[in-house]
């Protein structure tokens, strides 16, 4: 922090409201503060020492440049601002820097060493005083005071300027430290934000992992009884048919026959419902089990663009086969540099099919709502990020509302009507990308505008893990 004693003293002596009123307490940028200090010192120093001109030069590497000045007309100032002063004895600043102590030139016109005639001619001064701004013995700047007549500075005046210089260095140093602390605080606060984000991701990953394990455990237990439900219901449906056939030859009155027909019809209808819902439950359980499956093919080097293209075609033709009316625009933007990537092709295809079919669902939903003037579009893009690659799947569908966006990677979360989605697609995709491939999957969306999924995968496998959640 800035030395308050010095700040007050400086403010009192130099009457700088900006510093006294809390200028240094606020986050002001370092160069601006230095300039403030320079500007504060010069006129006062010039006035107290009875100088006509005052300048402050600041070190930039090995050379020095004018940082602030007082008393000069615009033309000289502009000329001086362009000058780069080196560490040589022929200038006041150069000599002060070399000597690292006060340099007093009573008359520049007859000084044997001072030979910068251009400066004398343009500035029109004779007596000069240079005082170095020393930080730990190293000159970081020079205060120069000049008189246009030959009138040497008194010892008292020299002492005053020297004190000014010392205090200016302390102020500059304090500002630098203050600036450093501020930069460090900013850095730390950014690190803290990163840490919090990482922690959130970790908690989310852990939560999903344990949920995945839990669902897989439940799925294992449900699968067996469910298999019986499915097998017995299918079988019973056949048995009802056979019962009907067996009852046909038996003579019954019309009323009884009608009643019997109705009962077998209802029984068969109910069994069909059991079969249908049993199959639905079976597909949910199968998806749940994908979370805990131990083997998932081989990891091998695959052409990223080819796998995206294949998935796109597979999803498109799949949708066409289901619905002859289906038609959307497919945009491809493949980066040839994406090249070969180490991955589990089966699994990545599963993720891509998932994202593409979600995209198709979203655009078809929006098309049904908007009717004319809307072109359902799905865009697939790949990109080379050096040791990583990215895949983007974007649709101009209905988008995802904020409240929903936070939940999309949760298992069993779905916005589709019952029977149309298991709510495991994105949860499984998350597992495959994040846990199996050590990648990243994120979503960007604007409700009513678009949804874009971005997948980032490492080009080479770091630590190979055979399966998801195993």
């Amino acid at each position: 922090m800035v030395d308050t004693h010095f700040r007050d003293a400086l403010a009192d002596r130099l009457a700088i409201p900006e510093i006294a009123e809390g200028g240094l307490r606020q986050p002001v940028q370092y160069p601006r503060l230095c300039l403030l200090i320079f500007q504060a010192i010069q006129p006062t120093a010039a006035r107290l020492c009875d100088a006509h001109y005052a300048m402050i030069f600041r070190g930039e590497g090995d050379t020095f440049k004018l940082a602030a000045n007082h008393g000069f007309a615009g033309e000289y100032r502009e000329w001086m601002q362009r000058q780069i002063i080196e560490r040589r004895r022929d200038t006041l600043v150069g000599r002060t820097v070399l000597d690292r102590k006060m340099v007093h030139i009573p008359d520049a016109a007859i000084d044997p060493e001072y030979t910068w005639s251009e400066s004398i001619k343009r500035g029109g001064f004779r007596t000069m005083l240079g005082v170095p701004l020393l930080r730990e013995g190293t000159p970081i700047g020079v205060i120069a005071l000049c008189r246009s007549n030959v009138s040497p500075f008194t010892d008292k005046q020299i002492e005053l300027v020297t004190t000014f210089a010392d205090q200016a260095v302390i102020a500059i140093e304090n500002v630098r430290l203050f600036d450093e602390v501020q930069a460090r605080t900013r850095e730390l606060s950014l690190s803290l934000d990163d840490l919090r984000a990482a922690q959130d991701r970790l908690i989310q990953t852990e939560k999903l992992a344990s949920l995945g394990q839990l669902t897989a455990g439940i799925a294992h237990e449900i699968k067996n009884p469910l298999n019986f439900v499915n097998n017995f219901s299918t079988l019973s449906k056949e048995l009802v048919d056979e019962l009907g056939d067996a009852l046909k030859p038996i003579a019954l009155d019309d009323k009884k026959r009608e009643e019997l027909d109705e009962l077998t019809r209802l029984l068969k209808g109910n069994l069909e419902k059991v079969v249908q819902h049993g199959q639905r439950a079976d597909s949910i359980v199968k998806n749940m089990l994908l979370h805990s499956r131990e083997g998932s093919g081989e990891r091998r080097s695959v052409d990223l663009n080819a796998i995206v293209e294949d998935s796109l075609n597979l999803a498109y033709h799949g949708a066409r086969a289901e619905n002859r009316e289906f038609n959307i625009r497919l945009d491809r933007s493949f980066d040839l540099a994406a090249g070969m990537v180490d991955l589990f092709p089966q699994e990545i295809t599963r993720v891509l099919l998932n994202l593409i079919s979600n995209g198709v669902y979203a655009v078809m939903k929006r098309k049904a709502e908007m009717r004319d003037g809307y072109e359902p579009t799905l865009a697939a893009a790949t990109g080379d990020l050096g040791d990583r690659v990215e895949i983007r799947i974007r649709d101009n569908g209905s988008g995802i509302p904020q409240g929903v966006k936070e939940k999309i990677f949760n298992p069993f979360f779905t916005t589709k009507p019952p029977g149309e989605g298991t709510g495991l697609g994105l949860s499984l995709s998350y597992d495959i990308i994040v846990k199996q491939h050590s990648g990243l999957i994120e979503v960007d969306t604007q409700p009513g505008e678009f949804t874009e999924f971005r997948i980032i995968l490492p080009r080479k496998a770091a630590v190979s893990r055979a399966g998801v959640g195993s």
Binding site: N224, F228, N230, N231, L235, G295
Partner: protein, 130 residues
């Protein structure tokens, strides 16, 4: 010749399901079915089965005690001539590979597609008959 199909599954309801599913074949004596609820019990039935009659072994994989994959080489050792078809609730690649490497004829997943299974049994019966 009375053909025998041995079904190995720890779930007792499997017997009821199979007996209903193949009720006509069983009634017509095309073949008989025997049921074992563990790998150990299955090995005993295999040993007891008459040389010519055993035409097929159907075995579940996930069973307490001896698993289907552990039973497989023992069954093949006892009766190398009898094909074994494995049945599992989880038809993943690794299980499939292990089953086929262990000498299984095929791997069916639950819920069992009885059309496929019937074809498999019919095929064995025909082969033994003609």
């Amino acid at each position: 010749m009375n053909f025998l199909v041995l079904v190995v599954d720890d779930e007792p309801d499997v017997e009821m399901l199979f007996r209903q599913q193949f009720r006509r074949d069983l009634r017509d004596n095309r073949f008989t079915m025997d049921f074992a609820q563990s790998g150990e019990s299955a090995l005993q039935r295999i040993g007891d089965a008459a040389e010519q009659s055993l035409i097929l072994i159907l075995s579940d994989i996930n069973m307490p005690g001896m698993s289907g994959l552990e039973l497989l080489p023992k069954a093949k050792a006892a009766r190398p001539d009898v094909p074994v078809i494995m049945i599992t609730a989880y038809g993943d690649d690794a299980t499939k590979r292990k089953a086929l490497e262990g000498g299984a004829e095929a791997l069916l997943t639950k819920p069992i597609d009885f059309l496929v299974l019937r074809r498999e049994i019919d095929c064995r019966v025909m082969r033994q008959t003609y």
